[in-house]
């Protein structure tokens, strides 16, 4: 006789497909962190003085801050002097065109299923490929430039569009926002930069693919997206890393700015290496993501599918400053084996008639621990603000956990805030029903889980939705015996 919990224990056997290491000649900074390392990073990127100053201020701030410990996740203390803060595949100068990209790098991305050749599988999607600390290639740049869209690596933006970077950098996530954001501000090495000019609807999906390759390095990228009045952009990010026994830190910062009537849709499929069945290794994904609806009638949507990382700790939020602005957060977080996730969102209502929607789907299997933590804050200026929050948890087996910590702070009496939550177990009844119809058990589990996530998947762009479903199925492979 089998039962769900014993089958689900097998989840430990799931395979991580992207765990290979590519032998790239890498230029690395000395281990550890001090002002010299920051100066080195800045010098390698040939940065202007203001940028170096900004980094150093962040670093000095970071030194006075303490690592937070309020999250529901356990891990051994991180030794910040044992991390390599900069690693770049040689040649360190960004290639001018795809022809100049190291064939090893191209081969690595092909293996990941991301073709950098522009006629590839994801044609119609412009890709910025980031390996360890630097951007190695950005596709479709010229085509985007025709409509005025700037899509390039962060380093390139600092060189070529310093006025834009200076105006917006740190305006949504300040240098000293939190411990990890401060660390990132000091040492960030690359990331993507997008600028959509007034009235332009970006003609293709923009995407960044993050790959950690080198050992013992942290990845600290910084992404900045600006949508001017009436502009629209849909942006995707994907991530993978090799299998290693040691934990690696990924502390990114993402800032989004939407002006009047602008819309930004930001989708993440995060599949960092989750560690092995015993919980050894894996990425610590400690990320600060925030958007600001600065203009009236603007809209920012976060959609995330989090299946990887040993620990995921992030709260993509929206500051709803413009009147009638809209913030959305759709999340699927899967924790299996010994993975831990403490994720959710912050919706800060400032403008009048602002509204936000939160849909969180948490799936726990094995010894996975899944926490939803969210803040809905309505300031006294935000008359007519509305929020609807829905948090659903699905448990597979008896050794995992689901936790919900919703924080609600309302300072305006006209606000309407709703919170719904549910926890369910994948039922013997559901499984038996599927199997009686001839659907094998493993397919049935995958079907039920995908059904549970449908509300979130339908928010993803088409290619990503298919990708996400596949990823979830792979992650659940071997979950039944």
């Amino acid at each position: 006789m089998t039962d769900v919990s014993s089958e689900v224990r097998e989840l430990a056997g799931r395979e991580y497909q992207y765990g290979f290491v590519t032998d790239l000649e890498t230029d690395v900074a000395p281990r550890g962190l001090n002002e010299d390392v920051i100066r080195l990073i800045s010098a390698k990127k040939n940065e202007p003085d203001w940028m170096l100053e900004w980094r150093l201020k962040a670093y000095r701030g970071w030194l006075t801050m303490e690592e937070p410990s309020w999250q529901k996740a356990r891990y051994a203390p991180i030794d910040y002097q044992d991390i390599i803060y900069y690693a770049a595949p040689k040649p360190k100068v960004a290639p001018a065109s795809l022809d100049e990209v190291d064939p090893e790098v191209l081969a690595m991305f092909d293996k990941l299923g991301i073709s950098l050749a522009e006629q590839g599988r994801l044609s119609g999607v412009a890709v910025d490929a980031i390996v360890d600390s630097v951007s190695v290639a950005t596709t479709f740049k010229e085509k985007l430039a025709d409509v005025g869209v700037i899509f390039c690596s962060f380093s390139e933006a600092v060189q070529r569009h310093p006025e834009l970077v200076r105006r917006y950098l740190g305006t949504v996530v300040p240098r000293r926002d939190n411990f990890f954001a401060a660390l990132n501000s000091a040492v960030f090495s690359d990331g993507s930069f997008c600028y959509i000019p007034k009235g332009v609807r970006c003609p293709m999906e923009l995407s960044t693919y993050f790959r950690i390759n080198a050992a013992d390095t942290g990845q600290f990228e910084r992404t900045l997206i600006i949508a001017e009045e009436g502009a629209y952009v849909s942006y995707l990010e994907g991530c993978t890393a090799p299998m290693r026994d040691t934990n690696q830190l990924h502390a990114a910062v993402v800032e989004l700015v939407a002006l009047d009537d602008a819309q930004i849709k930001y989708s993440t499929v995060q599949n960092w290496y989750p560690g092995d069945a015993e919980g050894r290794g894996g990425i610590y994904n400690f990320v600060t993501k925030r958007g600001k609806c600065a203009g009236a009638n603007s809209k920012i949507s976060w959609t995330q599918v989090e299946t990887g990382s040993a620990i995921t700790w992030k709260y993509p939020g929206v500051i709803l400053q413009g009147d009638n602005s809209v913030g959305e957060f759709y999340s699927v977080a899967l924790t299996a084996n010994h993975q831990q996730a403490d994720t959710g969102t912050k919706m800060i209502h400032i403008g009048k008639n602002t509204s936000s929607t939160i849909v969180s789907k948490a799936i726990s299997a094995g010894h996975g621990q899944n926490t939803y933590r969210g803040l809905v804050k309505v300031l006294d200026s935000a008359s007519g603000a509305r929020n609807h929050t829905q948090c659903d948890s699905l448990l597979l087996g008896g050794d995992c956990g689901a936790h919900t910590f919703p924080y609600v702070e309302v300072k305006n009496p006209t606000a309407q805030v709703e919170h719904e939550a549910s926890t369910s177990k994948i039922g013997e009844d559901q499984l038996f029903y599927c199997r009686q119809r001839g659907i094998p058990e493993e397919d049935a589990v995958s079907m039920i889980v995908n059904g549970f996530c449908r509300e979130v998947f339908k928010e993803l762009p088409m290619e990503f939705a298919v990708e996400a479903q596949k990823l979830l199925s792979v992650s659940l492979e071997g979950s039944v015996g």
Binding site: G438, N450, G451, F452, R454
Partner: protein
């Protein structure tokens, strides 16, 4: 087609089936009637492969040991259970579910899978049998369906999957008289020479619509009487209590299902 000998089933040490004997031939419709709690639904679940029971005895299906097969293998061999309480699966479209089921069966049978377009025309035709609206198809499996809609959906699935042995577990419960007529009409349309049906019901009224070849009376975990369709009428007059009394007089009378 189906031969059950001395079937026992218990759950948590509590014996529910206590020596069931039954033989069903292709083309026959057998009704299994009995009071609540007599074990009728357990019989259905055990035949379909529910794993929560401890089972002993023998069940031969087309000469094979049915009890050795997993639920999905039984389905592939042509066993279908119309559930008394159809299960809801949120977020999974009904049509997608049925197509996945059909293609899983076809894969096991070594047939090509049906693509979405071929499947849709098949599904549309079969929906007609139970007068089901197309709007049901895009909704999640049984979610928000009324009792009657769920039962129609079971018969619709049966019509698509075309089983050899269909077990209908209290398909009439929760149906008003109009819905009952529609569901019964669907079932009757699926009667055929190669297909056997085991119709489990508490009430005689279903058998006005689905006329059985054999009627069995189930009490305390086994069949206590078998006869033709008139037995159902007799039961209607005397009630189960009267029959149980008679059964008590002849405890060893556990007849093998008679052919009509």
């Amino acid at each position: 087609m189906l031969r059950i000998e001395n079937l026992h089933a218990s759950i948590g040490g509590n014996e529910i089936l206590r020596g069931v004997n039954l033989e069903v031939h292709a083309g026959e419709v057998h009704a299994v009637m009995g009071p609540n709690g007599s074990g009728k639904s357990t019989l259905a679940q055990v035949l379909a492969g529910r794993e929560s029971y401890d089972v002993t005895g023998e069940v031969l299906y087309e000469g094979e040991d049915l009890l050795a097969l997993s639920p999905e293998e039984r389905a592939a061999a042509g066993v279908f259970l119309a559930f008394q309480y159809p299960v809801e699966i949120p977020g999974v479209g009904n049509l997608y579910f049925v197509r996945t089921a059909l293609n899983s069966l076809r894969r096991r049978q070594g047939l090509d899978e049906l693509d979405a377009i071929d499947f849709l025309s098949l599904a549309r035709e079969r929906m007609g049998l139970v007068e089901m609206d197309e709007s049901f198809m895009s909704r999640s499996v049984n979610e928000g369906f009324s009792g009657g809609e769920k039962k129609r959906n079971e018969i619709f699935q049966m019509a698509v999957l075309e089983p050899k042995l269909a077990i209908l577990d209290e398909t009439d419960s929760g149906l008003d008289i109009d819905a009952l007529a529609v569901v019964a009409q669907g079932v009757n349309a699926l009667r055929s020479e190669g297909r056997a049906m085991l119709v489990i019901t508490h009430y005689q009224r279903l058998l006005d619509y689905i006329v059985p070849d054999v009627v069995h009376v189930f009490a305390e975990g086994r069949i206590v009487r078998s006869g033709d369709k008139d037995l159902a009428l007799e039961l209607e007059q005397h009630g189960y209590a009267g029959l149980e009394q008679r059964a008590a007089l002849t405890p060893s009378a556990a007849p093998v299902g008679a052919t009509p």
